[in-house]
């Protein structure tokens, strides 16, 4: 269940982001992009639950996991205080992960910290010989993490910021559409994370441009292993009386076909 991992590095990025590198060979060997771990990196009585984190990079050869996270509460603040050599507890890999096509082009659309799980997808896809197009947005430039890493694994990285500094703050879905129509690039699969609006924006494009869109969801979790049913989202489910059901983000997701999620 919970296994111990050793902290290799605590890297402070610009703005509120950190990267935590943990050595945990078994999880690194098993994990697929899109999967996540439950982490406990604090000893505080007032924090009852572990926290879910997507995997930013998975390095099986080194036995390492990279976690990109934003300091937003007491748990992540504690996490940012851990230093190399210290131990953390983790369960994983959890969730279904992203199914990559065998061949062809994929596009990744991420907003803010939503870029985190997309990196693992980009790296894996690149290593399998797929062509990756990455589109990232945030309020301002320094809130887009991992641009350099994404550039390494993508044929093209397109940024957009709300303040207009990058691409006049245009929508990532519009920029993706331009790639498809103006540059004639055919996209087979799209993964998106970090914005409900982005995921919804992809829906009408799916049939128009003939790609499959998947969304990576985030939700507050208690157990992370499907037991508590706390972390659900509403998903279209034929065969049920209502036509939809609550699916567990941790167990049935976190990757869902975008068209099946009911927002």
């Amino acid at each position: 269940m919970y296994v111990k991992g050793k902290i290799i590095e605590q890297r402070k990025l610009r703005s509120e982001y950190n990267i935590l590198i943990i050595e945990q060979a078994e999880i690194a060997r098993k994990a697929r992009p899109g999967q996540f771990i439950m982490l406990q990196a604090w000893e505080r009585g007032d924090i009852v639950l572990p926290r879910p984190f997507s995997l930013y990079r998975i390095l099986p050869a080194k036995g390492q996991l990279h976690i990109l996270y934003k300091i937003r509460g007491k748990a992540t603040l504690e996490m940012s205080r851990r230093i190399p050599g210290e131990e953390v507890k983790l369960i994983g890999p959890l969730g279904n992960g992203a199914d990559l096509p065998e061949t062809g082009n994929i596009a990744l659309l991420g907003r803010g910290i939503g870029a985190a799980p997309l990196m693992a997808i980009a790296e894996t896809a690149y290593n399998r010989g797929l062509v990756v197009y990455t589109f990232l947005s945030a309020r301002k430039r320094e809130l887009i993490p991992g641009v350099v890493d994404f550039t390494r694994y993508s044929s093209k990285v397109v940024l957009s910021t709300d303040d207009g500094e990058e691409n006049e703050g245009r929508l990532l879905t519009v920029l993706l559409e331009e790639l498809i129509t103006k540059e004639g690039i055919k996209i087979k699969t799209v993964f998106t994370c970090g914005s409900k609006r982005l995921a919804q924006g992809l829906l009408p494009m799916e049939t128009k441009y003939n790609f499959r869109a998947y969304v990576l969801l985030e939700e507050v979790m208690a157990c992370g292993i499907g037991s508590c049913k706390g972390c659900v989202c509403k998903v279209r489910t034929p065969g049920t009386p209502e036509g939809h059901a609550y699916k567990r983000v941790c167990k049935d997701g976190p990757v869902f076909p975008a068209s099946e999620v009911i927002w």
Partner: protein, 304 residues
């Protein structure tokens, strides 16, 4: 170590190998994700089964509070038929007592589920979840003494197996509720369910939970649950199962010393899936170090 007797006979025919079991809805069996073999538990308690499939509440469903969590999961259930077909066979394989938690909005719902389950073998007892605060404005028979009595009486008629009534803590006098349940034919009481609570996101100025309010569990409520176990154990003759914020052996012993013949672990499973096993071992060590050979010798010790 060999001479330790951890068994707890709740009622004739329902003898637990040890006093530790999960609280309904907080532990998953069968997916191969178990931290240890569930056969080691004193009992297995299922998620609440309702008459028909239920999808549960709108998310967000979970929110962490100081030393606690609020949940408004809303008892999602596959429904009793699917439960019999898909889930029950797997649970029967374990070599320990099987307690099926039953939920519903009316006494008829409970009776219907139990009638279906009566045809099955291998079930040790039913636990009636009268007290989930997340089921909207259903008839509050978990908090009204007369309605509680009538509901248990009605359900008793269709149940041949021991009935465990899980009491709500959101009452003035839990002793009264306990006596009503006992008089109506309950064999065992589980004390207590979650307290009702709420949290607001001050940035968005909205309730945090999709359901607005939810059930508070975890170490935060342990003192309240323990007080109720203490009160109920002194008010009825039937056995009490203690639950509420138990996270380690010390907590478990507090409940047992207050008079609980068995305990359930809920929220702590989320933080440490092995915690129930650790508590079983912890109780063994405590008995050994303090010269107790039978669990029964610790039950109610703080009352003497």
């Amino acid at each position: 170590m060999k001479d330790l007797d951890l068994t707890s006979e709740l009622v004739p025919g329902l003898k637990l190998k040890n006093p530790v079991m999960p609280a309904s809805g907080t532990y998953d069996y069968g997916d191969g994700a178990n931290a240890f073999n569930p056969s080691l538990l004193g009992a297995i308690v299922t998620k609440s089964v309702s008459a028909f499939p239920r999808s549960g509440n709108a998310p967000p469903r979970i929110h962490e509070t100081p030393c606690g969590i609020l949940n408004a999961v809303g008892i999602p259930s596959e429904g009793v038929e699917a439960f019999r077909r898909n889930t029950l066979p797997g649970l029967k394989q374990y070599n320990t007592a099987l307690i099926v938690s039953v939920a519903g909005e009316t006494p008829e719902d409970f009776a219907q589920v139990i009638s279906c389950l009566e045809e099955e073998n291998g079930i040790g007892a039913y636990e009636l979840n009268f007290s989930c605060p997340n089921l909207g404005d259903g008839i509050p028979f978990g908090t009204n003494p007369e309605l509680l009595y009538l509901a248990v009486k009605q359900i008793r008629k269709v149940a041949s197996r021991p009935l465990i009534v899980k009491l709500s803590p959101n009452v003035v006098d839990i002793k009264l509720m306990a006596r009503q349940a006992q008089d109506a034919g309950a064999d065992i009481l589980t004390v207590a369910n979650t307290l009702t609570g709420m949290a607001i996101d001050v940035r968005r100025r909205q309730p945090v939970l999709g359901n607005i309010f939810g059930g508070l569990s975890g170490p935060a409520i342990k003192p309240v649950a323990l007080r109720m176990v203490w009160e109920v154990a002194g008010a009825v003759d039937i056995p009490v199962i203690g639950v509420g914020g138990i996270t380690d052996t010390t907590d478990a012993l507090e409940f047992i010393m207050a008079g609980a013949r068995a305990i359930q672990v809920g929220t702590a499973n989320f933080a440490n899936p092995k915690v129930m096993l650790e508590i079983i071992e912890g109780i063994e060590s405590y008995m050994e170090e303090n010269g107790f050979t039978r669990l029964a010798d610790i039950v109610g010790l703080a009352r003497r």
